[in-house]
Assembly symmetry: C2
Homo-oligomer: 199 residues x 2
């Protein structure tokens, strides 16, 4: 199992920009599962799960880790090939042909996050500049994680909590040196005002 | 389902500082599951899973969401009560009687993360000052998430990806105004040196 897998191929990015497949990948990072277990977990038919697994397996995102014969049935266990999947900066910025859908997926996520700001008392629906700042935030965070992945010299030997902590600390460190990121944060702050005073 | 649940009770924090129960909570945030499904997922017996579920249910961390009669068996479906669980700052700083185990759990996580830095070419095993900086990083991040939870006025209506993005942006904003946090980051940076030059 790899630690971080950077996705640079727009076709692969398109494959995981699907709720069901994304959910499958998320759960298979923690635990190997059979198609029938996944079907219960996802509330989908076994044949639909098997189709999605094949798509993911063909792209090297999941792999077969165990086969077990039970009566006249062969149970196959699948696991994700990485602990974390990152869509590359170049791809999320739409600089690669075929990345249009990935950019749209990220933009939609940013738009929904901006809309959800109203739960915190900020009413700034449909502000396209803020959506763009949130989208850029995702992009620059991906770039930081790519840089971290490139620095890595060997496999990380740690449980999930410590692994998560290490990646989080390193991401903050890289981004704290990134002037474009600091600028994005400041511009978002201008929209939201001072947290201490307004709340 | 709540968005963020801040844990302030040391007894509750102790309950989730257990690998099996933590894993159960993580999966039940996404999907309701029965004890038998959980037993397959966790590789534990059904009776052990039922015991853990009872402990979590008694503390309001999971709840029964559906009952289904199948033949002479009643299937019970459980779900987590929140999307994200945060151990409060006061608790993780050990300022509340009974929080010793929680502090130890966080310290262990910090120690393992520091050890895993060697995978990036940094060889700083057993540096207790760096462990303390990592522990403080977790603590201050919890404080930021608590502040965000307190700002929240109503339930967030967004899918998991957008919800995660919004929380991440808000956490960066709150921490970018926190002088203690900036100091912690700078001190970690002093240990690790310039990322661009050394790698």
């Amino acid at each position: 199992m790899k630690d971080l897998l950077i996705i640079r191929d727009p076709k692969v990015a398109k494959i995981i920009a699907c709720d069901t497949r994304w959910k499958m990948l998320m759960i298979l990072r923690y635990q190997a599962m059979t198609p029938s277990q996944l079907s219960v977990y996802l509330g989908k038919t076994v044949s639909s799960v098997m189709h999605h697994l094949k798509v993911l397996e063909d792209r090297g995102l999941v792999e077969l880790v165990k086969k077990e014969v039970k009566g006249n049935v062969i149970e196959k266990w699948y696991k994700a090939t990485a602990k974390k999947y990152i869509i590359s900066y170049e791809l999320s910025e739409g600089r690669i042909p075929g990345s249009e859908e990935t950019v749209k997926f990220t933009e939609d996520m940013a738009r929904k996050a901006v809309k959800a700001l109203s739960a915190f008392g900020f009413n700034i629906n449909n502000n396209e500049e803020l959506v763009e700042l949130f989208r850029k935030f995702i992009s620059l965070r991906s770039a930081a994680l790519e840089k971290i992945a490139n620095m890595q010299k060997r496999k990380i030997n740690a449980d999930y909590g410590s692994y998560w902590l290490l990646l989080t600390v390193l991401t903050y460190l890289v981004l704290s040196e990134d002037d474009e990121f600091k600028n994005i944060l400041n511009r978002i702050k201008e929209y939201l005002g001072d947290f201490d005073e307004s709340h």
